[in-house]
């Protein structure tokens, strides 16, 4: 217990308690940091008292200079490849990926629904000059239909869902997951390296998924060709090829920079 400790402990004690909670799962690195932090803060507080500060103020000044417990704990090197660490990283990655995928799909649906209104009107307006005007000579003349709403329901669909799909709820849920992860990473040990997948692994995962989405779109376009579908084949081909090329380029670039880093470090070692 420190010199300024009351019944609930002084600023240094409280700080070390916070840090102890944040360092859960960081193993020997975290334990070592906790010992060094206590040593450092005790010495810094003693210096403050020697300068004439009262014990409480001296401890508070030492803690302020040390940095927030979350900021320090986040920098603790991850323990070497234990199963627990791998699972921790996998959990964070799965959380981030799920949140991003839900946000992407839900918000894409919401945007597609919003855009379907002007696009439908534009489509109907331009189709007036075609061989089969959509609204002036409906294909089902016996049934009275709201032409705009009828065609809008087609245009607002994302692959694999119906018009009742709760896009906004799914998108909102994804956003909540992503924001919660960002906040928890700042405030808890989720931000520690033992819970953080490497940037390269995260980038590769996103690049692979992005490229696979491109492949799926191209497959859908080919399927559409056989069904003689005209309205989505071209956009699927363009978007699919673009996504595939971007995904492959990102993976190639990541591999190149990894090799470049390795070569540079070997060059530096040989130059020394």
């Amino acid at each position: 217990m420190t010199d300024a400790a009351g019944r609930d402990g002084g600023p240094v004690d409280r700080y070390l308690d916070d840090m102890f909670n944040l360092l859960a799962g960081t193993g020997a690195s975290g334990r070592r940091l906790l010992i060094e932090a206590e040593e450092h803060l005790t010495e810094a507080a003693a210096e403050g008292r020697a300068r004439g500060l009262d014990p409480e103020a001296a401890e508070r000044a030492a803690v302020d200079r040390f940095g927030t417990a979350a900021a320090v704990a986040r920098r603790v090197p991850a323990p070497f490849g234990t199963v627990r660490v791998s699972l921790s990283k996998l959990t964070t990655a799965a959380w981030a990926l799920t949140g991003t995928a839900l946000a992407w799909y839900g918000l894409s649906g919401a945007v597609a629904w919003l855009l379907s209104w002007p696009w439908t009107r534009l489509l109907i307006a331009t189709d007036r000059f075609g061989a089969y005007p959509m609204c002036e000579r409906p294909r089902i003349p016996a049934v009275l239909i709201d032409c705009v709403r009828y065609n809008q329901q087609d245009l607002s669909l994302l692959p694999g869902t119906g018009n009742d799909f709760p896009y906004l709820v799914i998108g909102g849920l994804g956003m909540v997951l992503v924001v919660a992860l960002l906040i928890l990473r700042r405030a808890t040990s989720l931000g520690a390296p033992s819970w953080t997948p490497s940037r390269a692994a995260t980038g590769r995962t996103f690049a692979v998924l992005f490229g696979l989405t491109g492949v799926a779109l191209v497959i859908e376009a080919i399927d559409g060709l056989f069904k003689d579908v005209q309205y989505y084949v071209l956009s699927d081909v363009v978007a699919g090829l673009l996504a595939f090329v971007i995904g492959v380029a990102a993976i190639v670039r990541a591999r190149r920079s990894r090799f470049a880093r390795r070569n540079r470090s070997e060059y530096t070692r040989s130059a020394l």
Binding site: S29, R32, L33, I35, E36, A37, E39, H40, T42, E43, A44, R65, F66, G67, T68, A71, V72, R75, V76, P77, T268, A271, L272
Partner: protein
């Protein structure tokens, strides 16, 4: 002043000059030698020292002779070489930047 990205060189330099020292002394030396120019949360130095140790540039041990148990750090041979290489790299960077922005002049009175 933001020192992110340059902390490794600063720590290696302090350890190179000071010899085996504990973390608190490293931080004090950093603060004194920079005359307080760096806005550095002191606690972030300890994880940085651990990182350098993992990279093989720094070695450390517990010093049990002091009244309180302390971790003492010193440069390895590879750390000495890395410090020299990083210093040279930094020198080239400074020369390059200086050539672009021009020589430093004292601020003229308004």
């Amino acid at each position: 002043m933001e020192i992110r990205g340059h902390l490794d060189l600063l720590l290696l330099s302090v350890l190179d000059d000071a010899g085996p020292v504990h973390g608190y002394a490293v931080i004090t030396a950093l603060r004194d030698r920079s005359e307080g120019a760096f806005d550095l949360p002191e606690g972030t130095v300890y994880p940085a020292l651990q990182r350098l140790e993992r990279a093989g540039l720094v070695a450390s041990r517990w010093d049990e002779t002091a009244p309180r148990r302390r971790r003492v750090y010193q440069l390895t041979d590879e750390g000495h070489r890395a410090r020299a290489a990083k210093k040279q790299e930094w020198g080239g960077f400074v020369v390059g930047v200086q050539a672009v922005i021009g020589p430093m002049t004292a601020a003229s009175p308004a």
